[in-house]
Every structure is written in structure tokens, then in C-alpha cells.
Amino acid sequence: MLRNIIIGLVLLAAPFVIYLAVEHGQIRTVSFEEAVKLAEGKTETEQVKKIMVKGNVIVDEQHPFQLDGAMANFYMRDASMTTFYVSYDGEDPAEELRHMQSIAVAGHAHEGQPPWFHAKDIVKY
């Protein structure tokens, strides 16, 4: 009987746990401005939840694309037309991106003058 009770309870509870994990384990897509707001006042020891910002890569004379080994520094413009600096140092080596290429960067913003985005993933779409 003990075994049946345990199996029954686990079968009842497992979908609830999976549902919660899926609900909370989704990355939120925000504008760069919102990303900066989320990072406000965060210090080295605080956790900043990873978020995603979608937009287009900007590459021109004033906004150079710099590939530095596996890392990359470049500019992006999000849907609300905010241009911001992105520094990528994720696990996968960075690749050259072209002007106006649509991408999403996942990571978190850093406060500063001006604020910038620290990307851990680049998703092309």
C-alpha cells in the first residue's frame, strides 16, 4: 500500500512541478530600457535574472563590430529604437554579424554611462 500511495502522490505532484518549472524557466523578452531597469542597483553578489533583448545589429563607422577571439563587442538597436552596446562572452565562440541582422541577445544589462548589455547567448532568427 505504501508503494501505491507514494507512486500516486508523485504522479499527482510531478505535472505541477513541471508546469511551474516551465512557467518560471522561460526567458523574458524585454526592451533594453527595461533590462537596464531590472539591473538598477544590483551589485556583484546579487542575482540578476537572465533576460532577452531582440533587435538588429548596427554596424557602421561609428558602431564598429569588434571580434576579439571568442568574444564580440558590437551595437544593437531594439524595437523602441534604443541603440546600445553589447559585449558578448558566452560559451559558443562569437561569429561575425552583419548590419541590420536580426538577433536576440540573452544576458543582463549593466548600469553605467551609458548602460550596456552583457550577453551570454546570441540567438539568430
Binding site: 500500500m1 507514494i6 511551474l20
Partner: protein, 798 residues
């Protein structure tokens, strides 16, 4: 060089020891003696290696990459000691030493209970893998060996100073928390080895009795280590709470939860001879989860989802960790499958009105908690497998899942203690329940009256009070008659206090953001806060300007000063600030001040610039500024007799199609170390630029930064004033959390003493068995090997 040779030699010894122990199964005393001696040699060798490493660290021998990478000449002695295990190589070394130390303590014990070959063969196998990890992540590698691929360093190169320790780790807790955790991890190898020995010998019950004190020891130490980490986070890291569900915290919590469940199922088996498979499974799983935890935290797979950061250990170590886990998983679970038929004969069912049923349900709830934490912690890896960005499900997920679980655990704990083993009549159960139920109901009403409104917290409070009073009543009763048996009740009482502390801090804590200007009192949360000024500390560290901000907290009849800390360091390229909270401790509540930001209001806007990265000018975005180069020709060392040092940068300003280059300088008088900025006016504008600071990036000078300030001379000048923004919170009854954990650990200590006492007769019986065995013919000995449990075990299984 000697260190490297020693590690390789000890690895070879570990291999031979393991082989000798496996081969000594058929009562080969010679091989057993060889293995035992070698095991002690390994321990001695590891101690020698530790002494060597301490000599390297305290002697600042930066020829060694490990010493260079984690220490420097500025560190205090306790912190230098902590650098021993601050890096990956060192933490593996600490773990290995602790495993060997526990092994040396375990040796006489397993000899006494007649389990030496079986237990020590698996235990030594663990040591083999840990030693192999040390060979792969050699803590004695020279710096030129480490950078051999880059071919940038010549043999014998010695850096003048090391990189130092992460500023987050600069406090005394690092000298206690990691060693405690690793001792717990090391101790969990023991139940694994006993479980494997039990499976090999087809001894499905006795192993539980003799490994129980070790399981209790591992659980107590690991639990205490985890909570020390929580206290560290609260007291120094400024998380504001004691638990953040960070992947690294979780990864040590998971094996601990499994161990807690194991302790309960072991007790059930001891009493009823049921849950045989469960105990084998849990003892093996707890150890596998220690390995998985190490994989999560040391492999770099959760690198960007955790506040704890560990660098990538390299492909070889990464693969080794996976191999380590796979081999022990296959061995452990394979052995269970191998003995499945035999174990299945040992089945027992429990009545719902019995204590064993309650314990099994409690263990299930704890295991479900462990599974959800494991699931949540592994979620980023699963996300990556399906091509999604890694993301941690976060605090809300864990809290939502655990609230009902903790309620169940509290209720089951209380109710299971009110029933007897085997079966209990309903009347007796209800009579026992009445008093604690009534008191718990009244206590819950009182806390509800004082403002507890959340229904789930009210239910949790009721469950915790019920558990608290049931355990208190039983503990008081036992204290008079059988004080030896008080351990479990003290532990449960502690856990109930911990739950109540969590409810109190989660429900009654209040928080407010406060902006403090110097000498101007600000009222918040019924208290008055005054920022009195700042004081520079840790001046010996050149990578930071660390300040303590003195804040006076005044209430009607009491004044005190707390000193939160906030600073920026080159260590993280000044990307985000480091902080330490200021806490006014008291028995019933803490006033917790977490610094957020220090701003100079009225200050000119500034821009932090890296080389060749154009940025729009803060005052007028039609201008773009690019830092071209640093001019350090007049910096320190250029002229030793100079009365002034000058730092400079060359910038390019673009405005439409026009570009021009300009130099900015700031100088420091060597006599009084005062800085003077040399403003530069952009021709044809009212904008003035000045160089405020150069922030060197020591790991990559090309990524150093210059801080440039901008002034619009047409705007009226405002007086600069420092504003310190803090998050003030009052945390009532947080001490219940710490007291609860201390009581829980004390309870474990009582239980360990009790269980060792229970084993004592077994030692004598095993000794008698050995004496008897030594007098029987060789053929008879062989016949008895690998057969069911020894005669003495049956008497002791109860």
C-alpha cells in the same frame, strides 16, 4: 616539481591500494595489510602535499600557477590559508585529503565490525578518482607550464605578485564554510562504501546499523556547512536573506536532503527490516549526487546562472567528472540490479497507523523536495540541450514547490512521532494528539492575531507549531528517563524553529529604500538613520578603494553605528559593485542595511571608455568620442624624482563629418597625493572634458578604462554632495533560523553518540567472529566468504 611527483606517486598508491583491497576479499590478510599500509601512506603523502602547498602559498611562490592565480602578497594569513582551496585544484585537493582523513578514521572501525576489505575497496576507489582529478588539475603546476600553449613565458619566470583572491571571499567565513562542506561531501563516501559492501556480501541489514553513525555524521556536517553558507550570505554578501536558491547552494542541498531521507529510512529498516532496496538506492544516490553537485559547480555548465563563479576546468577535467559519475553510477545501481532478486525477498509493508509508515511518508516528502531542487538546478542544462538560452527557474519556482512540501514535512513529523512502531490504536493516537494540537492551534491563532495573513503561511505555522510541541513534549519526557535518545527530538525541534524563523522573516520583515546625505537624519521603519561619513579600509589592496560607510541607527532609547561596505574593484573590471551589509543584531530582530549605490549628486556626467569603442557624449549625443590611446609617459616610474605624476589619454571627437584628436591629462602631487584635473575645452563649444580616472584591467591592459567627466560651462554650477542609497530592512526573529540549525546539528550529535553506543556490542561480536575464523581451516573460511550476514548481525539488526 616534488609536489607533482608526489601527487603522481600517491595516485599510483591509491590504484594499488584499491586493487589490493579488492583482491583481499577472500580473507587474504597479507594483501589487506599491504592495502591498509598504503592507505595510511596516501594520507601521509597528502598531508605532506598540503604542507608543501601551504609553504608555497605563505612563501608567495608565484612560480606556481595556483599560488599566482588565487593569492597575492596583500592577503592576511587567514585568507592566505583559505587560498589553499579557493580554486578548483585546491578544492579537489582539500576534498581528497578529507576523504583520506575520514578513511584513516574509518579503518579501525571497519576492522572492528569485520567489513574492512569490502568497504575500503570501494572507499579507496573513490580516492583513486579524486587523485586522478588532482593529477588532471595539478595544484603544483608551474606558471610557464600552464601557459605553455601560448609560449609567452620562459621556464623559471616568477611574477612579482599574484592575481589575488576574489574580493567576495575576503572574510573569515571562507575559512570555515568550504572545509565544512567538503568534510560533509567526504563523509558521504562512507554510506556509499558500506552500501556497496552490503550488496557484495549479501548483507542487506547489518550494513545499515554499522553505517548509520557515519551517515548521521555526514548529514550533520553537510547540513551545518550549508547553513554556514547561508549565514555567510546573510552576514557578509548582503543577499538580504539566508537562502537564494542559487545553483551552487542547491547542489549541496540536494545530497543533504537525500541523506536526511536516508537517515529516516535506515532507522525504519533497523526497526522493521523493511525499505531494504530504498536504503541501498539512497546511500548510493547521495554519493552520486555529491559527484553531480561537483560536476554542476566545477564543470562550468552553470557558469552564467550562478552568483558563485568557477572557471571552466578544461575539457579533460570535464570529461573526467562525467566518467567519475558514470562509473560510480553504473557500479552502484548495477550492484542493486545484480542483487535485485535477493533483496526483493526482503519486502515489508507498513500499516498506516505505524511510525514506519509516517517515516516513509516523511522521507518521500524530503526526497520529492530533493528531486524538485535537482530538476530546477538542472533546468538550465536541459534548456541548453533543446537549444534554448540557459536560464535558472529562479526563487519563485522553488518557493512555490516547497511551501506545500514543508507543510507536509511538518505535519508528518509531528504525527509520526505520536504513533508506535508496527501499529497504534486510534484512541491512543488521539489522546496523544490532543494537547500538542490544542497548543499549536492557540499559538497559530496568536501569530495570526499579530499579523500573519497569508493562508499558506498560517497552515505552515500550524504544522511547525504542532511539530515543535510534539517534539518538545517527547524530548522533555525522554530527558528524565532516557536522555541518550533525545537526539532526534532535538533535531526536529530545531527544524520546527527553523520553519518558524522562515515564516517570521518572510511575513513580518519590512523594507524601505533610504537615501542618506551626510549628517542629515532620515526616518524610516520607525528608526532614524544618519550617515556620518566614510572610512577607507583594506588600503593594502591596490585593486580597490574600499570604504566603510558609518551609519547611526537611533531609536527612542538606543543608538548604534553599523558599517556597511560598498566598493568597486579591478577584479571584475569594475563592472558591478561589491557590498557588505551593516547589521544591528538583537535577540528579537535585526536591522539590516544593504548598501545599494553611492552617488555624487550635482556631479558632472561621466563616461567610462575602453580603447577604440566610440560612445556618444553625455551632454550632446551629436558628438561621438573614441578613446584612442593611454599616455602613461609621465606616470609613476617614468621619473622617480618628479613631484607630480601625470596620466593622459588621447581621444578622438567626431561631430558630423569633422573629426579631431585631443589629449586630456590629470595629475597627482606626490607630496600629498591630491589629484588635479586639467579641463579641456572642445574648440567652438562650451563643453569641457577632464580625465578623472584610469582603471587598469590587469588581466588585459588593452581593456583598461578611462573615466572622463563632461561639464557644460553655460549651466550653473551645483555643489557636489555624496548620497548613499541603502535598503533598510527589519528582520524579526531571524535568530530562530540560526538557533534552529544549531539545535538540528546538536540533535545529530546526540544521535551519533547513541548509535555508536548501539554498535559497540557488534565490535565485540565481530572480534569474536574473527578469532573464530582464524582457527577454522582455510577451506571453511572460503566457504563462509560472500555468504549472508554473520551470526552476530541478526541480533543487532534491531
Amino acid at each position: 616539481m616534488f609536489g607533482q611527483i608526489l601527487i603522481n606517486f600517491l595516485f599510483a598508491c591509491a590504484v594499488v591500494t584499491t586493487g589490493a583491497y579488492f583482491l583481499s576479499y577472500r580473507d587474504n590478510e597479507v594483501l589487506r595489510n599491504v592495502a591498509r599500509t598504503l592507505f595510511i601512506v596516501i594520507f601521509g603523502g597528502l598531508l605532506l602535499a598540503s604542507v608543501l602547498q601551504f609553504i608555497n602559498i605563505f612563501g608567495h611562490d608565484f612560480r606556481y600557477f595556483y599560488v599566482y592565480n588565487y593569492s597575492n602578497t596583500e592577503l592576511s594569513k587567514p585568507l592566505l590559508m583559505a587560498t589553499f582551496y579557493a580554486g578548483q585544484e585546491g578544492s579537489f585537493m582539500l576534498w581528497t585529503i578529507l576523504v583520506s582523513l575520514i578513511g584513516v578514521l574509518l579503518l579501525p572501525y571497519v576492522r572492528r565490525v569485520g567489513y574492512e576489505s569490502e568497504v575500503m575497496s570501494f572507499y579507496s576507489l573513490i580516492l583513486v578518482f579524486l587523485m586522478l582529478m588532482m593529477v588532471a588539475k595539478n595544484p603544483f603546476a608551474y606558471i610557464w607550464e600552464h601557459f605553455a600553449a601560448e609560449a609567452t613565458m620562459t621556464t623559471g619566470f616568477t611574477p612579482a605578485n599574484g592575481r589575488g583572491l576574489n574580493p567576495l571571499l575576503h572574510n573569515l567565513w571562507i575559512t570555515i564554510h568550504p572545509p565544512m562542506l567538503f568534510t560533509g561531501f567526504a563523509a558521504l563516501s562512507v554510506p556509499f562504501a558500506f552500501a556497496m559492501a552490503g550488496l557484495v556480501r549479501r548483507d542487506f541489514h547489518r550494513w545499515v546499523s554499522i553505517s548509520l553513525p557515519w551517515t548521521l555524521l555526514g548529514t550533520a556536517i553537510l547540513g551545518f556547512g550549508i547553513m554556514l553558507g547561508g549565514f555567510w550570505a546573510y552576514e557578509t554578501l548582503g543577499w538580504g536573506g539566508f537562502w537564494g536558491w542559487d545553483p551552487v547552494e542547491n547542489s549541496s542541498l540536494i545530497p543533504w536532503l537525500v541523506c536526511v531521507a536516508l537517515v529516516h529510512t535506515m532507522l525504519t529498516q533497523k526497526k522493521t527490516r523493511g525499505l531494504v532496496k530504498t536504503n541501498f538506492f539512497l546511500a548510493i544516490t547521495a554519493f552520486i549526487l555529491v559527484l553531480y553537485s561537483t560536476f554542476l559547480t566545477r564543470s562550468g555548465v552553470l557558469g552564467d546562472t550562478s552568483v558563485h563563479s568557477f572557471v571552466d576546468p578544461g575539457m579533460f577535467a570535464f570529461v573526467l567528472l562525467i566518467v567519475f559519475m558514470t562509473i560510480f553510477g553504473l557500479l552502484g545501481y548495477g550492484a542493486i540490479v545484480w542483487r535485485w532478486k535477493d533483496i526483493s525477498g526482503e519486502r515489508a509493508d507498513f500499516r498506516m497507523s505505524s511510525r514506519e509508515f509516517g517515516l516513509a511518508m516523511g522521507a518521500t516528502a524530503i526526497l520529492f523536495s530533493a528531486s524538485t531542487v535537482l530538476f530546477g538546478t538542472s533546468w538550465p542544462i536541459m534548456a541548453e540541450v533543446i537549444g534554448q538560452p540557459k536560464i535558472d527557474p529562479g526563487i519563485a519556482f522553488y518557493n512555490k514547490v516547497h511551501l506545500p512540501l514543508v507543510i507536509i514535512i511538518g505535519l508528518v513529523n509531528a504525527l509520526s512521532l505520536l504513533v508506535n512502531w508496527r501499529s497504534t490504536g486510534r484512541g491512543l493516537f488521539l489522546r496523544r494528539l490532543m494537547v500538542p494540537l490544542g497548543i499549536a492551534a492557540v499559538a497559530t491563532l496568536i501569530v495570526t492575531f499579530f499579523g500573519l495573513r497569508d493562508v499558506s503561511f498560517i497552515v505552515l505555522a500550524f504544522a511547525s507549531f504542532l511539530s515543535l510541541f510534539v517534539n518538545l513534549e517527547l524530548a522533555v519526557r525522554l530527558l528524565r528517563r532516557k536522555p541518550k535518545m533525545i537526539g532526534a527530538y532535538v533535531s526536529h525541534f530545531g527544524i520546527s524553529l527553523l520553519f518558524l524563523g522562515i515564516i517570521a522573516t518572510a511575513s513580518f520583515s519590512v523594507m524601505e529604500h533610504v537615501r542618506l546625505e551626510r549628517d542629515m537624519p532620515v526616518s524610516a521603519l520607525g528608526l532614524q538613520f544618519t550617515y556620518l561619513g566614510k572610512e577607507q579600509v583594506d588600503k593594502e589592496f591596490k585593486d580597490r578603494e574600499k570604504y566603510q560607510y558609518h551609519i547611526e541607527i537611533a531609536s527612542d532609547n538606543h543608538k548604534s553605528i553599523v558599517k556597511p561596505v560598498l566598493y568597486w574593484s579591478d577584479y571584475n573590471r569594475r563592472q558591478s559593485a561589491f557590498l557588505e551589509p551593516g547589521i544591528q543584531w538583537s535577540l528579537n530582530e535585526d536591522v539590516y542595511i544593504a548598501p545599494k549605490v553611492v552617488e555624487v549628486e550635482g556631479e558632472s556626467p561621466t563616461l567610462s571608455m575602453q580603447k577604440l569603442t566610440p560612445q556618444p557624449m553625455p551632454l550632446d549625443s551629436s558628438y561621438t568620442i573614441t578613446l584612442q590611446r593611454f599616455d602613461m609617459s609621465q606616470a609613476m616610474g617614468a621619473d622617480p624624482n618628479a613631484s607630480e605624476l601625470r596620466l593622459g589619454v588621447e581621444i578622438e571627437i567626431a561631430h558630423g563629418a569633422d573629426t579631431s584628436r585631443h589629449s586630456l591629462y590629470s595629475s597627482m602631487a606626490t607630496a600629498n597625493q591630491s589629484w588635479r584635473y586639467e579641463p579641456y575645452n572642445i574648440p567652438g563649444t562650451d563643453y569641457h572634458l577632464s580625465l578623472r580616472q584610469i582603471v587598469p584591467n590587469r588581466s588585459d591592459l588593452s581593456r583598461s578604462e578611462a573615466l572622463i567627466a563632461f561639464v557644460d560651462s553655460t549651466r550653473p554650477e551645483t555643489q557636489e554632495r555624496e548620497v548613499f542609497t541603502v535598503e533598510v530592512s527589519i528582520k524579526p526573529f531571524i535568530n530562530l533560523v540560526w538557533l534552529g540549525v544549531i539545535l538540528m546539528v546538536c540533535g545529530f550529535a546526540f544521535s551519533i553518540v547513541r548509535r555508536i553506543g548501539e554498535i559497540r556490542p557488534d565490535w565485540e561480536a565481530a572480534k569474536a567472529d574473527r578469532t573464530k575464523a582464524s582457527t577454522v581451516p582455510e577451506s571453511a573460511k572460503e566457504h563462509s566468504n560472500g555468504v549472508t550476514e554473520p551470526s552476530s548481525a541478526k541480533d543487532l539488526a534491531e
